[in-house]
């Protein structure tokens, strides 16, 4: 059931946040391969290049992207037959209720607010990896 490598697409324009998450992921779960893109255009290019082979098992999506709002990216992902089944977890610095509710309304799998410090990132990554990699079954068998 578990497929290696576990590929995660990180859509994040902030270098510091992306590097922090990637470093913590490397430490907590080195088997998870983080592919990072900086915005919507790059994300869909990357997803299109994967379509035929290995789509990511999980997408982490920032909301404030330079080329498109994260909610537009979410809406596109959740209405495309090729990617609709891939869980999208929003990871944003916003804790505004309107952002949270809108994300779930557009079928975000879950909403995470960016932690303030390294310890917070560590705890968050550990919980997320445990849930998605060790507990939940993902729709991956077709590509084994």
């Amino acid at each position: 059931m578990r497929v290696s490598p576990f590929t995660l697409l990180l859509i994040e324009d902030n270098d510091q946040d992306a590097e922090l998450l990637t470093a913590v992921m490397q430490e907590v779960a080195p088997e998870v391969q983080v592919v990072r893109v900086q915005g919507a255009t790059q994300a869909f290019e990357q997803l299109d290049s994967w379509k035929a082979s290995l789509p990511p098992l999980l997408i982490l999506l920032d909301l404030h992207l330079p080329d498109q709002h994260g909610h537009q990216v979410l809406e596109r992902l959740k209405t495309q037959a090729d990617f609709r089944h891939v869980p999208v977890v929003v990871l944003s610095s916003s804790d505004e209720q309107v952002d949270i509710t809108r994300s779930y309304h557009l079928y975000a799998n879950a909403y995470l607010t960016k932690p303030y410090d390294l310890g917070g990132y560590h705890d968050m990554v550990q919980t997320v990896v445990k849930y998605w990699q060790k507990v939940a079954h993902l729709p991956v068998l077709h590509r084994v």
């Binding site: 059931m1 959740k78 609709r84 089944h85 891939v86 869980p87 804790d95 209720q97 949270i100 509710t101 779930y104 309304h105 079928y107 799998n109 879950a110 909403y111 995470l112 607010t113 705890d123 968050m124 919980t127 997320v128 445990k130 849930y131 998605w132 060790k134 507990v135 939940a136 079954h137 993902l138 729709p139 068998l141 077709h142």
Partner: protein
């Protein structure tokens, strides 16, 4: 100013309950799950529904209540009488109010068709019912760690 501050504090402290709705027609599974929650998820209140239609009735009632009474998370079995889990998931994810509630599948089925269909209909995860009690405890812990302790859930209103 001080009074308002303490009022907010009281309201926050009065509602630390996390309500989870378990939709499952198998009494033995429900009982195991209830025990697991009692031991490993204190403060989690579990509400039950026997099948999809039963759950929809409860949710409609909760939607109309003042204040609104909806679960923070739904755990959903697939094979049930009257309305299957897949039918329930499709219904709830098209409801303008209820669609924001995360619905996690908890089923004995490991069929890839079930897994794919669940995620295509925006399941919040697909969990296979564990065959041993320690595994069930681990699953409950991981679910609560993720959905209660880590994720920001939509306000229920």
């Amino acid at each position: 100013m001080n009074e308002e501050g303490s009022l907010c504090y009281v309201i926050y402290m009065k509602d630390p309950v996390f309500t989870l709705m378990l939709i499952d027609d198998e009494p033995a599974d429900v009982e195991l799950f209830r025990d697991a929650c009692q031991e490993h998820a204190p403060g989690v209140q579990v509400e039950y529904a026997a099948h999809g239609q039963d759950a929809l009735d409860l949710l409609e009632e909760g939607k109309r209540a003042t204040p609104v009474r909806l679960p923070a998370l739904i755990l959903l079995d697939l094979n049930m009488p009257v309305m299957t889990g897949h039918q329930f998931l499709e219904r709830i994810k098209h409801d303008p109010v209820l669609r924001t509630i995360p619905v996690v599948i908890l089923s004995t089925s490991e069929a890839m068709d079930d897994i794919r269909q669940a995620y295509r209909n925006y399941a919040g995860g697909y969990l296979v019912k564990p065959s041993t009690i320690p595994e069930l405890y681990q699953l409950v812990e991981a679910v609560i760690d993720y959905w209660r302790e880590t994720v920001a859930l939509p306000p229920l209103k």
